[in-house]
Symmetry: C2
Subunit: 292 residues, 2 copies
């Protein structure tokens, strides 16, 4: 297991972590500058932030600053109510693949979607099995396109509390079942993003990480689970402030071949998004060394 205590050469910042500073939106160019200033070697930007600043400009800035990417957030949201909706999702995902290529990302992270309309509080139906079939079909179609572009797809199983509205793939086991079905040759074109927040509770986690293996361990995300957690989406904790044994899980992914960046992804309306982003980045660096 790599020693993270001496430096932060394996730290990546998911740009949502400093999406806000003092409660105000922080534009992506400033986030990238701040990461570079702190000697953080890698980032994982979000599509909406890239779109706001312009893909070309961000691509140039990333290269000029010498930043690497640990992933691109995000494709997915495959399920829809009709053929037109499915087609629109497919086209949007192709654009996400193109953007990931332009930015030099090592993978496109997929938050696969769930019951159509549920995110807006009006689920169109209750058939989660049907949504799951649409997800499998959607990934299958996108995979052909992504292979042509050389862009690996990383299915991110989300915590089961998001099964209705954000992602109906909620365990490593399910994500790897999809990998087995769609990429049985383990080509590296399809794998998983392991976010400790989503999977720490799973009694089968270690076994599924082993099952995934090097070809399918495409990303590793960290934050912490707070007790109590006061919001289902935006109350993630800084590493070390919660109950997840992060080093143990990192040990498992590294034992099975993962050697990439450890990406900090924290959504925190009540705490970290209220602080100054430089303070947040300093804390990420410190906790990367002491608690990851």
């Amino acid at each position: 297991m790599r020693d993270f205590s001496q430096n932060h050469r394996w730290l990546s910042i998911n740009t949502a972590t400093v999406r806000k500073s003092h409660g105000q939106d922080l534009p992506l160019p400033q986030i990238l500058d701040a990461c570079a200033r702190h000697g953080i070697p890698a980032v994982s930007p979000w599509r909406d932030q890239v779109a706001a600043a312009g893909l070309g400009a961000i691509s140039k800035q990333v290269k000029a600053l010498g930043l690497k990417l640990s992933g691109y957030c995000r494709g997915g949201m495959f399920p829809a109510m009709d053929a037109a909706g499915l087609q629109a999702a497919f086209e949007d995902n192709r654009r996400a693949v193109d953007e990931a290529c332009e930015l030099g990302a090592p993978c496109l992270v997929l938050v696969v979607g769930a019951l159509p309309g549920a995110l807006a509080g009006k689920a169109a139906h209750k058939d989660i099995a049907h949504a799951r079939q649409q997800v499998e079909d959607g990934i299958g179609a996108l995979l052909e396109y992504a292979k042509g572009s050389g862009m690996p797809l990383a299915i991110e199983p989300l915590h089961p509390m998001y099964a209705a509205d954000r992602a109906c793939v909620n365990t490593m086991e399910h994500a790897l079942d999809l990998c087995d079905a769609l990429d049985p040759q383990r080509t590296g074109a399809l794998g998983v993003a392991v976010d400790v927040y989503h999977v720490w509770w799973d009694p089968k986690l270690q076994a599924q990480i082993e099952r995934a293996g090097r070809e399918r361990l495409l990303a590793f995300h960290v934050c912490d689970w707070l007790t109590p957690t006061t919001d289902l989406l935006n109350d993630r904790g800084m590493m070390g402030d919660g109950v997840i044994d992060i080093p143990r899980i990192r040990g498992w992914v590294e034992a099975h071949g993962f050697a990439g960046f450890s990406e900090v992804e924290i959504f925190s309306t009540g705490h970290w998004w209220k602080r100054d982003h430089d303070e947040v980045l300093k804390t990420c660096i410190e906790r990367h060394r002491s608690a990851v």
Copy 2:
């Protein structure tokens, strides 16, 4: 599958559902009277409510009203920091078994506990595997006592969002693994409580219900998952107001032998606990007929 549309002879009310009326605590004797008044045949009371009113008095009232029980809530909370804590949990669980016997419950529901201290916001450690071992040991010890009393134990897998602080058994598969380990003969002394709120998201749910079978399907709880869900504990929905396909899941448990009550268990600070309890009970009856 049984037809629930014509009456509510298979309805049970978990007494937490009307724990409050107009936002004020409603004592258990009034809850029992109200259920009887509405022709509801069964209830599942909570220990704290029973203790407040007195076990003997509640036992008499239940019998006088001709109410049945669909379960008794709850035993569990096995993990602890030291031998004294484990012993205290064991003794408390024995008392819970005794109370369940006195009340004529068909099973004692187990919410197994998780990281010691986490419920108070101060987890004593992060070793969930250790907590799980303590749970297995605790159920094993209690099972001997419960068998002597003829009281079946129903492990209730809780939603993974409670893995840190309330129950570190979070899937049917894990609960049934414990049943296999502790009661391989399938004697009926150990089984599971299937609460749709906790397990609806699981892609392996149908298969695990089949695996459980009649001997291990000891209780069936219903409510609904709202989108959005605004609180991790106390924002459960009334059946039909959320995204869970409850009839489908009831079909599965009945296909594999469950023929007991359908128990409504709703915690709802923001909505149902603010209403009048008679209105809530009427709604439960209506939705039992139309949405379960």
